[in-house]
Every structure is written in C-alpha cells, then in structure tokens.
Symmetry: C2
Subunit: 276 residues, 2 copies
C-alpha cells in the first residue's frame, strides 16, 4: 500500500489504530472449537470482522503462530489472506522483527512480501543496512525498523550514548533514514516513552511511526499524538491484548469492537482538523 493511500484511509476513517493480532490460545473463548490453529483462525476472523471499521491496520505477530507449528503458520497465512480479500483497505504488518543479511534477508523479504503478501514487516537493525536493503527493493512495501522500544531493558543498548552523544536509537534513525525514505520506511517507537517521540520526530520528520504500548503496556494516546503527530498523521498506534482479549467470554467480538471503537473515537479527536 502506498503512503498516500494509508493517509487517505486514516483521515477517511478518523482512526490511526493498528490492531495487533497476537491470539493467546488460553484466552480464546471455549465456544470456539477445533485444533489450536483452527481456533486461532476462527477467532481472528471474528476479531477482524468486529474491528475493521475502527482500524486502518492489522499486525499479526509471527511468534503467536509459529508456536503452533506448520498449522500455526498456515493460520497466519489464512488470516492475512482473509484480511486481503475482505478488507483490502487494511494495511497489514507482519510483526516478525527479523534481522539477517544477504541471501537470508532476501528470503525473509520473499516470505513476508510475496508468500504472505503483507504490506510491511518489522525489522531489527543490529546488523546494519545489509539486513534492511533487500526489503526496500519491493516497491509499495515497507520496512518498519526497531528504534526505541517500550520494554524495561530498552536501556541496555537502545539508549546508550555513543562517542558523539547519540543514543543508539538516534543513530539507528539517523543512519537508516538514508537507506530508504518516508514512503518505504517506518520506525517502531514505544508509547511509554512519549517524550522521546519529540526527538524521533526531529530526526524523522515525515516518517510514519508504529507505536506499540498503548493500553496493556500503559502508554497514553494523547501523549503520543502530542509528540508524534504530523499534518499527515504519521502515526500507527497499536493495541493488541487490550482489543482482541478485551473479553474472554462469548462476547469477545463485541468487546473487541467496543475497545477498538473507543480508541478510534479518541483518535478522531486527535487528528489534525485541516489536513484534507
């Protein structure tokens, strides 16, 4: 999906919500029967149908599928195909955090962009440009590079200052923003570090930011918008558990819709008014 289409969808729907499809098998309602992979797919379809009006993106996390083996991988492929067919205006992110080089990176790119037909994949920058370049060769596809995450140990390396006074995440953005551009690159920036979003914006004024950590992890939507939003929005804010497992009962789909709708309502009030 092109950047202009994504922006159009955001302003048309009044939402920059990304729903994280991280199905926890222990929280899928007992009413949904079958093998783990069958239950995940049926659950995902119901969640997608319930939340599609309120979000512009879905982000399945590969770990939640891989842990169910080949059938789990098929459930991931079937989930993505379902979104593609029924909701073609949704931006699909494989949250895979891959990071490898050369012919390995090319195969990951083929996996997520050709096999699974995602719009974007999350990538770890540790190994440098070699680990991102093969993904940038796909027109219309996106690399979403880890910058500053919201976990407690982000300080182990991400915020360590180098000999020029740059934190590692700042250097990652400064270096990698020249590999691609704002139509094929985004950055992951955790919502629990909203004040750092201002610094990220200084380094990447036009890039979209994928912001996890709102909801279960404690980040504030208002803070994220204050520091991260630009006239074209420039934000995809993700909520996973807070939406998809809002209820573990038979009302799980309605509860997910309600949770997503509330987030979208708040988001509509935060979007720039004169953008279109």
């Amino acid at each position: 999906m092109k950047r202009t289409e994504l922006i159009d969808n955001i302003f048309r729907k009044g939402s920059f919500l990304c729903v994280g499809l991280d199905p926890d098998i222990a929280k899928i309602p007992a009413e949904i029967k079958g093998t783990p992979a069958e239950r995940i797919l049926a659950f995902n379809k119901a969640i997608i149908d319930a939340t599609a009006p309120y979000c512009v993106a879905y982000k399945p996390n590969t770990a939640f599928y891989e842990c169910h083996g080949a059938q789990g991988w098929q459930a991931l492929a079937d989930t993505i195909a379902y979104i593609r067919e029924k909701y073609p205006d949704q931006f699909i992110i494989a949250d895979a955090k891959r990071g490898d080089i050369g012919n390995t990176a090319s195969r990951y790119a083929r996996t997520f962009f050709e096999q699974l037909n995602c719009d974007a994949v999350t990538l770890a920058p540790y190994m440098g440009e070699d680990s991102v370049r093969p993904f940038l060769e796909y027109p219309g596809k996106w690399s979403i590079i880890l910058a500053l995450t919201s976990n407690p140990s982000a300080g182990d390396f991400e915020t360590i200052q180098d000999n020029k006074g740059l934190a590692l995440y700042q250097r990652v953005i400064r270096t990698s923003r020249h590999w691609g551009n704002p139509v094929n690159t985004m950055y992951v920036v955790g919502a629990t570090r909203a004040e750092s979003l201002a610094e990220v914006r200084r380094l990447a004024p036009r890039h979209f930011l994928l912001v996890p950590g709102v909801g279960a992890q404690g980040g504030s939507l208002e803070e994220v918008a204050r520091y991260g939003m630009i006239d074209e929005c420039g934000l995809l804010v993700n909520s996973s558990r807070g939406v998809i497992h809002a209820s573990t009962g038979a009302d799980f789909a309605e509860a997910a819709a309600t949770s997503a709708r509330k987030l979208a309502e708040t988001m509509a009030g935060l979007l720039p008014k004169d953008a279109e």
Copy 2:
C-alpha cells in the same frame, strides 16, 4: 544438550564443524522430485546422512523454510526430527535471529525449544535482556546472541564506540554475559573478523562462539582457531553453502561429505591435543 556433552562430542569426533542447512531450492539437484518442501526435506536428509560423521552441529536457517510457507515450516520440523532421531549426538541450532520481548519472546522460546526441540536459537540483542531472558529459563537449552557479524554493514552499529570507548558488540557481550553463563549462552562472531575474536575472548573467556563466514564468506579456519580457541575448544564453526551446495549435480551428497570431511580434518589438527 549440556556443555560437557558438546565438548565431549567435539573431541571424540575431532571436529567443531556446524553444517548450515540453508537449502537453496534452485541448487537442489533435479533428481530430487516433488513439491519444494518435499525436495528440501529429501535433500536435507541426504546431506545429513552424508555429513553427520564430520560435524557436531546442524544449523537450519528459518528463512529458507519460511519462504515456502506452512509446508516449508513442516520441512524444518521434519528435518530437525530426523536429526534428533537418527543422530542424537548432534547439537541443533535454529538460526532464527529472533528478538522480541515479554510474552512474544516466551512464545519464540516455546517454538524453538518445545515445538521444534532445538538445542539453541540465535537471538538479536537490540531490545536488551527482556529479549533473551525467557530463553534462558529452559535448562539445557542455549541462547546464541549476535555480537559481531561478518557482513559489510556490521560497522553501521555493531562497531560504533559508545561514550566509554566500547564498541556496541563489546557492550553487548559485557552486559549479556551476566544474564546467563557459559553453559547456556554463546555468541555469534563472524570469521572474517578473526582478529576481533581475541577481544571477544577477553570479554567471554569460557563462552562458546558460533562462527559463521568460513568458506563462502572468506574466513580462515586457522585464524579463527588462533584467536578463538580455548582448551575446551569453545568454537562451533559453521559452513553452509560450501558444504551443502558443494555440487548441484547427482553427486551432491558425496560432494557435501567430501567438503565436510576436509573441514573436519583441518579442525582435528587445530584442536588442543592434551584436552582429554
């Protein structure tokens, strides 16, 4: 597998060779028929049977399986199961370079240690301790953390000096060596930077190092041993293409055996003589 078992296997076989199972479908001989996944599995079995006497570890790279979808993932699982059953003394490394946190990292650990029953998985350290900790909770299993890789863009971040004069890879080792210990943690150090192995050894004197880049990528086995070997060996040196695709003809298995045997013969001469 325990560290002591791995060391015993190395000295018993006179080899610290790890064979990278990165099957390139375009290089699998035409004689092997079937779907891509069937061809990969049949190819891998022949390669494993041919090389098992000369190596102590296998390292399937997940990208080469994922790019063939759910069937590819099944071929990965079947390959690992084949090694487990027929060659129980082989150390199995999932070269997955995963790096995520919390409940996601736990699921990756479950995937590679429970579902696939690997001994070890390669991990990217960018997000810090949270991205490694869940893997260290499995007794007898190993985390192999990216430190200094052999690709050209390793200099983008890995060798950048921080404000204390430490390169990022040095800081990664200094910090992460305290998360686990030499019985559950290894480091990836590229063979094309053999002189840096001396520095890695200073920081991690007892840890095993997984060294890719010998062969196709140009590293020298003698240099690696000179700078990286300890009395318990402490090295697993990987060769992928140079072994498994030594020939693309009908003699591919013999060619792989020959290539692995030559590496093992060199390795036998490099192992410390008085260790056992």
